[in-house]
């Protein structure tokens, strides 16, 4: 299992469009990808879950990845967050 934390810097937080892009990015992997904010955990592959977290700028997310391609998934998703959010 891989896990990392990320603090959102985008002033608009994770609103609809980036949420969609993140879901798309996470869905590429066969591993299970989960997002946790303030104790609430959702699947990163489901748009309602990700949007439902209503992540705002400055809030910390924990990303947990478990599965056969967890190493690549972890690296790529961390990169994605840094570049987009």
């Amino acid at each position: 299992m891989k896990e990392f934390k990320y603090v959102v810097t985008d002033p608009e937080g994770i609103h609809a469009r980036p949420a969609g892009e993140f879901v798309k990015a996470a869905s590429k992997f066969s591993s299970d990808v989960k997002l946790t904010k303030d104790g609430k955990t959702v699947s990163a592959k489901k748009i309602f879950g990700v949007m439902g977290l209503a992540v705002k700028q400055g809030q910390e997310l924990t990303i947990t990845i478990e599965g056969p391609d967890e190493d690549t998934a972890s690296a790529e998703l961390e990169e994605f967050l840094k570049n987009n959010l």
Partner: protein, 542 residues
């Protein structure tokens, strides 16, 4: 004539007939079903069709309004494929033995409720997205007509609210304006209206009765008013305003991307003055070459306490990024005189125009000043920023300022925070600065002449006292000679000089300024195009 006010989400004037778009309230009938599997299959088929429709809408929207605005239909497709959403529908069908329409309706209510209850204006709006996709499925299930016919002449669309899929299905050539009772500035209707360049009003408190259909109306997107059955006078006034706007657009098309160069080859920069980041859109819309005066006061005036470095950084960064490599000149805070913020706790003064204001506050409260400079330097990495200091009267002040900005840079170096070595300039707005401009020119990278204060100090006329109007001559030779002197002294030291006061937009003086050698004119966004047009029609050799 009846008029209704609303919130404008995009400017412009539209004159035409009203077309009501009422949502065909879908009455969902609940009934029991025998076979859950068959019903689930019926739902799956409808869902698949909805997906196809959304894919088509995405392509259509991408062509018409660009990829960024079309993205919402991609999100809609994802929502349609979301397991939580699908499982909820299928569970209701199989557990409660009810029809698919009802299951979709209940699920839509639950999911949109989740968004509506969020403490975030943007997310609240997303409730409409859930309803939009669900209604699409229900329409397919019931076989309801999906065609939203508008008439065959261009109309003003009046509706309670519009879902993104409804706006995109409209024939854009037949829409003059959107007016809705609900909706928000974050709604997709608002965003699409902006992209389509048509006036749009939201939050208009109007009763949508059938009688309105086909009635003549005027939408004033500048002042946020819709006039129903306008009288002759209003119609004439609005038509004129519309023509002015069209003229401006024509000018823009002609001038866009062209150099500001006189017929005999003298070129000059035309920048815009802004007093809020919200004005950035107008700067781009009017095709200004940069921002010649970014009045940073608003950040202080809109706050209840001193704005933090980070708050300021975000704002300057946004300006730098939005202008994408074009120069953005940030004037450090010019509080005092007529601009007061309570938390500064400034004493009441007998003569505030000559009192503790602008750079004088910065030099007596260096911490406030340093916070702002740090934010500006940090943001300098994101574009082409420059900084300028207001109300300079002496060489000593400039040296003190430079010492403080060096301190700020040293501190950033220490913390390994990157920044660019940006241009540092001063405002020339006191007669004292004019008279020693030869000395000041050796110390700074540019001058920007603030003609409003310079005129008032030179003529000793308080501009806020209307009784003095007859003593105020905006074209006073004394002021013009001062500007000429500043230009001469600046060019001797090879620095550039601009004008950022009201005189810069005075088309009667443009020729004279260019002859003096002014390198940059910075004016309100709406004056940029007329000024550029004027410059291109001048011939200084004649």
């Amino acid at each position: 004539m009846i008029e209704y006010g609303g919130k404008s989400v995009y400017g412009g004037i539209a004159v035409g007939k009203i077309h009501l778009m009422s949502k065909s309230e879908q009455q969902i009938v609940k009934y029991s079903i025998e076979n859950g599997d068959d019903e689930t299959e019926r739902f799956e088929a409808a869902k698949k069709e909805a997906g196809n429709q959304l894919a088509e809408l995405y392509d259509k929207a991408k062509k018409e309004v660009g990829e960024a605005n079309a993205a919402i239909f991609e999100i809609h497709q994802m929502m349609l494929d979301d397991d939580d959403y699908l499982d909820s529908i299928k569970n209701i069908i199989s557990e409660q033995h009810v029809n698919a329409e009802y299951a979709v309706g209940v699920t839509a209510d639950n999911f949109s409720e989740m968004f509506s209850s969020m403490d975030d204006a943007y997310m609240k709006e997303r409730a409409a997205d859930v309803k939009d996709i669900s209604e699409r499925i229900i329409r397919i299930l019931t076989g309801a007509d999906t065609e939203k016919n508008t008439s065959d002449e261009p109309v003003i669309i009046l509706a309670d609210d519009l879902a993104p899929s409804e706006t995109v299905q409209l024939d854009k050539n037949l829409v003059l304006s959107f007016v809705t009772v609900h909706g928000s500035t974050n709604s997709h209707t608002a965003i699409l209206a902006r992209t389509m360049n048509i006036p749009a009003l939201i939050g208009v408190n109007i009763e949508l009765s059938e009688e309105l259909e086909g009635k003549m109306a005027v939408v004033d997107g500048f002042d946020g008013i819709i006039y129903i059955e306008p009288d002759e006078e209003t119609l004439i006034k609005m038509r004129k305003r519309k023509d002015d706007e069209t003229e401006k657009q024509k000018l823009l098309q002609e001038l866009k991307g062209k150099e500001n160069i006189t017929k005999d080859g003298k070129s000059v920069l035309v920048y815009a003055n802004i007093g809020n980041v919200k004005d950035l859109a107008y700067v781009l819309k009017n095709d200004a070459g940069g921002i010649g005066l970014f009045r940073s006061e608003f950040i202080y005036l809109e706050n209840k306490t001193y704005p933090t470095e980070n708050e300021q950084f975000q704002i300057y960064k946004k300006a730098a990024e939005t202008m994408a490599g074009k120069r953005v000149i940030i004037r450090t805070l010019d509080i005092g005189a007529d601009k007061q913020a309570d938390y500064f706790n400034l004493d009441k003064e007998e003569n505030p125009a000559m009192g503790l204001r602008a750079i004088r506050i910065c030099l007596t409260r260096p911490e406030v000043f340093k916070t702002q400079l740090r934010a500006i330097y940090r943001a300098s990495k994101y574009g082409k920023l420059a900084v300028m200091y207001p109300m300079i009267t002496s060489l000593e002040e400039v040296k003190k300022i430079k010492a403080i900005s060096s301190e700020v840079k040293a501190e950033l170096d220490e913390k390994n925070i990157p920044y660019n070595n940006i241009e540092e300039g001063i405002m020339i707005e006191t007669p004292a600065a004019v008279m020693i401009s030869d000395m000041l020119a050796k110390e700074v990278d540019f001058f920007s002449i603030g003609t409003n204060d310079l005129s008032q100090y030179t003529m000793a006329v308080d501009r806020q006292n209307p009784k003095l109007d007859e003593f105020f001559n905006p074209h006073h030779e004394a002021v013009l000679r001062m500007i000429e002197m500043v230009c001469r002294n600046a060019h001797k030291e090879n620095i550039w000089v601009g004008i950022c006061g009201e005189l810069g937009a005075d088309l009667e003086l443009t020729e004279r300024f260019l002859e003096m050698g002014v390198d940059e004119l910075s004016v309100s966004p709406s004056y940029v195009l007329p000024l550029r047009n004027k410059i291109r029609n001048l011939d200084l050799s004649k």
